[in-house]
Symmetry: C2
Subunit: 315 residues, 2 copies
């Protein structure tokens, strides 16, 4: 197939095309992943998360630039719809991103919003697979992080970077207590702002309070991504973490968890599809909702009935 | 059944017990909802959402107090695990909440975290049903809101209050642009803080920019919840909104959407249960993930196989 051949020939337009097909749920794209699945699993997947305004996209762009200098190829997927990769970036940033976008060794893609199912969507997983097949050495997955999304990113990333920023107020700091488990590497970005050292100390204290799950000492780094300050050390720590999870066998267990999350996502989407796009009139959720509204049935009894009918249908 | 009888006799302990059973996925509780479902659908469900630190719980407590003065009964469900209802509240707040908790006409419950499926969980929906059966006039559902959760709350609430607060920084303000669709009523809480008037103006501007979907003019109110300032007007607007959606037929369509969301949640949880807790060895997701890791299959082919087997099983 033409598209498959182009992907194998490292034609970036094939990547763009395939990810668009994935977003449109075009089965052909998923078939290509199935056929070329043996080429997946080799990229280092790095999750970048943190509160809005922490400078995640600028940091990602700066990391990508650095990795290109080291002759590594980089894919970037911004899951967050409000990401500067889709707009909203300050001018200097935009120029840098355009430079990156023209580079054959870089592919940047915004994946719209996360699925209605909350997790990293089937489409995002699939886009990662396409970038792996294309041969990217590094794949960055950027998500805005307040709440569920940081937990989700752990399921796709080998290495997760939690980006914090001084001056987001105490309320945000409180939130952080719950997400300390997530970062393999902590970055205090915009480190030239007031409160950076205090934030580093706070993170250190929180990390010291909790018991370690393994002997990876989570580093806390200061960066000023817009000036590329601190990026060398960060890249170094990313390499180091990868090496650590590889030698300890953690990489395999992380990849397995990622595959499980991907499977669960595909299963759920398939199931929803089966229920919502069914031609079977008895599965008309709107009609059932109406019956429940009119107290002719209740949600639990209705679902019992739906499951019974799904089984009947598959006979 | 004893518990069912106690619930009908307005014994608050029955509510506590049933919601705990719901959280433990005890089928008996869901059976009681099924049996008493004809008593549901009469409460005014008010969603309270907004960024962390906006004072949502204090506002909810203040609203509850006011509604009690008007002889209305109030249920409160805090979906957010970091809610002050579970801890973290400042002292004055805690005392107020304890007062509320002792009142037979008030029931406060924290529902732990949202389900792994992102939306308002089946358990939260069910807890709302229990409170409706108990006979609460008002049910407040409080969720922390940055991202998906505000959209979720729209699916359960008849009236949604978006609580904002001055001084969370420009980054948070940017986020707001995307969530302006959600509020039926906007509240700028902690209105004695610097920037309150500016925030009101910004919200007004954003609301003026977008086209109205109906002729409900979303009010923007200033409150200082901790001092009960502005709560009278807010309660008034809540009444007014309920009256508006009732007379225009919007209430019915909102209730129908809520039921659909509830159905989808129950369906999904049931499906996940079927896949994960299956005794069928062929549905062992860990084993399948291992095969995928070893490139013996790929996620899409594997899911095809799972669906085929689910159908076989149900034969």
């Amino acid at each position: 197939m033409e598209l498959k051949k182009k992907l194998l020939e490292h034609d970036k337009r094939a990547v763009a095309r395939l990810i668009s097909m994935i977003e449109n749920d075009d089965q052909k794209a998923f078939n290509i992943i199935s056929e070329l699945f043996y080429l997946t699993g080799n990229a280092h997947i790095v999750g970048i998360t943190g509160p809005p305004g922490a400078g995640k996209s600028t940091l990602t762009a700066s990391l990508a630039k650095k990795l290109r200098d080291l002759d590594k190829t980089v894919g970037i997927i911004a899951v967050d719809p409000s990401s500067p990769f889709t707009g909203g970036a300050i001018l200097g940033d935009r120029i840098r991103m355009q430079d990156l976008a023209l580079d054959e060794g870089v592919y940047i893609r915004s994946m719209g919003s996360r699925g209605h199912l909350g997790g990293i969507s089937k489409a995002t997983h699939a886009a990662t697979r396409i970038l792996e097949i294309y041969g990217m050495d590094y794949i960055f997955v950027e998500t805005v992080g307040v709440g569920q999304s940081e937990v989700d990113i752990m399921k796709i990333a080998d290495t997760t970077i939690l980006v914090l920023v001084p001056g987001l107020g105490d309320d945000i700091q409180v939130l952080k207590a719950g997400i300390m488990e997530i970062g393999d590497i902590f970055v205090v970005n915009k480190a030239d702002k007031d409160g950076a050292d205090k934030l580093v100390l706070e993170v250190e204290m929180m990390l010291n309070l909790r018991k370690m799950e393994n002997d990876w000492q989570q580093p806390i780094l200061k960066t000023i991504a817009i000036q590329d300050t601190g990026i060398d050390i960060l890249v170094n720590k990313i390499f180091k973490h990868y090496n650590y999870i590889k030698t300890t066998g953690l990489l395999k267990s992380k990849k397995l968890k990622c595959i499980e999350a991907e499977l669960a996502e595909i299963l759920r989407e398939r199931f929803i599809d089966m229920v919502y796009n069914s031609n079977n009139a008895q599965l008309d959720l709107k009609e059932i909702a109406n019956e429940i509204f009119n107290k002719k049935t209740d949600p639990y009894t209705a679902v019992d009935k739906i499951f019974f009918e799904l089984k009947e249908r598959s006979n």
